[in-house]
């Protein structure tokens, strides 16, 4: 089972965090700090796996963003790499040629896509088309920004 997923920039700025298990805030901060430091110093063309405490860390860099997972000992690293890749594909499909800024400015959408893809640290939907469909339907339920702006503020 996946324990957490982190997205962070080359400068070590966190862009997205998802915890699939309960961690205390202190632990979260420590994990974020340790893991980003460890991953950022890795030279290019190294392997994508690291051992950190009792967890396997699997990471992959896409453009300026690092996607990074914490796995339990029994989990399959290669499968997780595929999973990260699938998530990037989903983001790409939703935003259309996704870049870091898309995720910064629409971070809640990035979370919603992730929620449709992985739940509680397990994959729930492997088909890109189904994820796209449910995102679209859910979005259609959401009011548009115009509607929101036309509402009285008080």
């Amino acid at each position: 089972m996946m324990r957490f997923l982190l997205l962070f920039s080359r400068q070590g700025k966190l862009r997205l965090q998802k915890w699939f298990m309960a961690f205390s805030d202190r632990d979260k901060k420590k994990i974020i700090r340790d893991v980003t430091q460890m991953v950022l110093v890795r030279p290019p063309k190294s392997c994508n796996f690291l051992q950190w405490r009792d967890l396997k860390i699997v990471y992959r860099r896409y453009a300026s963003l690092y996607f990074c997972c914490g796995l339990e000992q029994g989990d399959n690293e290669l499968l997780t790499l595929e999973l990260l890749h699938r998530y990037v594909e989903l983001l790409d499909q939703y935003f259309g040629n996704v870049c870091e800024l898309d995720i910064i400015f629409n971070f809640e959408k990035a979370y919603f896509i992730l929620d449709e893809f992985i739940i509680g640290g397990e994959v729930q939907e492997t088909s890109k088309a189904s994820v796209a469909k449910s995102m679209e339907e859910a979005d259609s339920l959401q009011e548009t920004m115009e509607e929101y702006l036309n509402k009285p503020t008080y």
Partner: protein
Amino acid sequence: MALKIVKGSIDRMFDKNLQDLVRGIRNHKEDEAKYISTCIDEIKQELKQDNIAVKANAVCKLTYLQMLGYDVSWAAFNIVEVMSSSKFTYKRIGYLAASQCFHEGTDVIMLTTNQIRKDLSSPNQYDTGVALTGLSCFVTPDLARDLANDIMTLMSHTKPYIRKKAVLIMYKVFLKYPESLRPAFPRLKEKLEDPDPGVQSAAVNVICELARRNPKNYLSLAPLFFKLMTSSTNNWVLIKIIKLFGALTPLEPRLGKKLIEPLTNLIHSTSAMSLLYECVNTVIAVLISLSSGMPNHSASIQLCVQKLRILIEDSDQNLKYLGLLAMSKILKTHPKSVQSHKDLILQCLDDKDESIRLRALDLLYGMVSKKNLMEIVKKLMLHVDKAEGTTYRDELLTKIIDICSQSNFQYITNFEWYISILVELTRLEGTRHGHLIASQMLDVAIRVKAIRGFAVAQMATLLDNAHLLTGNTQRNGICEVLYAAAWICGEFSEHLEDPMQTLEAMLRPKVATLPGHIQAVYVQNAAKLFATVLRKHDGETESQAAQETSQLLIDRLPLFVQSANLEVQERASCILQLVKYIQKLQQKNVEVAEEVTALFAGELNPVAPKAQKKVPIPEGLDLDAWINEPPSGSESEDEKPKAVFAKEEPKHSRSRHTEVDEKELARRREVRKQEQASNPFYIKASPSSQKVYDAPGVEHIPVVQIDLSVPLKVPGMPMSDQYLKLEEERRQKEKAERKKKEKKKKREKRGKERKADSGPESEEDITPAHQVDIVTEEMPENALPSDDDDKDPNDPHKALDIDLDKYVPHCRHLQFIHVLHIVMCRNEFFSKTEIYDFKVVVSVIFENKSDSFLKAMEFNVLDSLNSKLQRPEGAGAHDSLTVPFQLPPGVSNEARFVFSVQSIVMPQKLKGTLTFIVKSDESSTHEKLDFKLHFTCTSYLITTPCYSDAYAKLLESGDLKGSSLRLEGINMPFHHLLARICFHHHFSVVERIDSCASMYSRSIQGHHVCLLVKTTVSIDAKCDEPSLLGNVLDEIKQTFSKC
């Protein structure tokens, strides 16, 4: 899109949306914290509004700030408000915020239960979906308990979208509220055959996770999964199923056998590396669980190793890494198959990637043998030279030491080589592991006697070149090595060629810059060297050299006397005074060498870590007793013995305890003296003849001299290489000689049998260069080596875990081993009437050796007058006890039965039966197994140490009755005989004088048993209970009749 429209309308304060916040933060790089604190103030204002849209916007911004590390727990209630909005837009944001910010400690969570329940049953599947997703992040035990039923219903929802989410959430619910597993499991199992592949895969995921933690409950699902595995084409699902099998196979070897074939097929056919990797891993797990007895075993291992080799050879670093990782799993059980790929693994040490190099290093540890150790270490040494970055180099260093020192230096054939490796390692710059090298040097020098001469010479060179080690940086970790060097040179100074020179090196002014603890060792060992120098010049009249040495010490030591380090100062001034005194004597031409040497006489032996625990507590010493009784409380007034004084006078209870009369004092002094006399650690006036366990004939092992004319440093070639060469030559030579001998033999037994060609040198053929006696660690006298030291001291059965009285009745189905534990629980109530009631705990190990399932086992024993099986209250005297478990094939388990025993003077044999049902696929039959439980008298004896004076008193007292025994036809060394009696019958040796030994033991009821064993193999025995003695002697006789 909508962003652009917003741009123009930021004038309204409450309209700063998420995008504006993000942009604002990016524009205020210099004063980010200040900007955010104003934003948080704004958000607080927004949250006070009644408009839900504004609130949701604020909560969305907070979620972003939470990610940046700001505390937003104060807004938890507002998040709940947004969650309960009826609009999906806001609900979605509310649940997202909750899933990011809530945790088990968040108290508003309990307010959400009803809202979540409402959302779960919403007609809109996305409302339900959002609630489920949120729940997966913040579910608490309370929520799990309250919502388990609702989620269970959702597992059968009409829409697969909800079903698969519900199935996955169930796992989280199980974790928080385990009671829900039982009712939910049937439905979960149903989902394995759901028409929707997504739901199916979700169910596989959940069961796989459950089974990894608790495999035995899921064995029954194996056939279903097997079907799924052979039919599914979805790699995600396949990987999970194969992983699940990996967890199940250790419990059910037959499953493993069945799996091998489909798995190997998959390995051959699949193109997905992740699937291949999973298959290989599971095959490895299967092969580990099938310890033996598989014909095509080696073929599968070969296939795995081959595939892994392909992975390791791949240019993809990830595959290389995983290949090495999986190899290390194989290595544990099948080292031979991995060892043949040594070349490949050594290559990986050159990899650019550090994590790959580290994995390769891990593998090397398990791959060394006597034959290849030197070669591998040589390769590693090359890497040490090349390595960039101290962390990796330090890692290499520790690995080299680990590899060499593993299992008590098992693989080292030439310790001179090892010492020179250690010396070479000291040349590493900036390593943190100086102390590690130092402890290895000390360990080898102390425990391998044959190497001391060589080690001392090397250490002397180190000391001489100390300036190279310490360099400019004083805080260099490597200078720890000097600690070891100085100690070795001092302690084994008799091997030094030129002690004077070493002494000079140890007293250089530069030494004062070393850390204090090292200086202290320097000073102390300088004194030892001084003694050696004096002894060397002993007998020479008017020895100039000896006096010069004294002068050298007197000149140099004052520097250390001024040291800021207390230890150094103290030792230096002590030794300085001593040397001054010696100098005076020397000037009067008095022979001093012998006396000075006497200061350091005797050898320091390594002591086993367990030794302290094994020191027997002297008789009469009660460690738990109060030395001064604690001041009594007010209640103790009431408990005062009433009969002591006829007229009770009011007294201060406190003074009563401090007052001790003369007689009592004298008595205590006497007791203390006795204790001291029997305490091996108390230094007595005259040296006692404490015996030391010395390994037989250590001194007489011949030591092959290695020609030391090899210069210690060869330009351009590290020294250890010299040894590598020498060693190779030596092995060649030996091999040649052996062949010659073999040929001779062959000629002798010509034609009788054809010996297989020795082929590649096997492990056993390599003999060490010199007979190396690894000095065993010392244990206190009479301490028997035992394995139980590591047992949990809290185990109630440990205290009197007396005998492993093995009695193994065999049966087709069941193996039955019983182990006798005696637990002394003297019943206080009965103790007045001198009737003891002892509980004997018998551990019975049931092992099912058949292929069928055994259940309904019932254990019964025919009670005797003396021994009774303890049955639960209300049960009849002949009722049998149910064994509280069932046995699947091949499984063993242990049950404990309690017996009460009244008299221990006679051995007991109890007859019993075990009934059980054998259940196979077709039928079930009732079977019966008869057994006997044998309680020997020996098992009631406890090894109790006794000191000779107490022993003598005991014999003189005349309370004991004698008996004797002659053992015929025993021809074993006397100490073996004694050891056997000690081991099998729980005696301890009190004293051994030439041809006889006195031994002692005590029964759990306090009977003394004394033996006098003579080399003529007769035993005179005394005991206060003649029948017990007779039985013990019979049992001793029986022990020796067996051999």
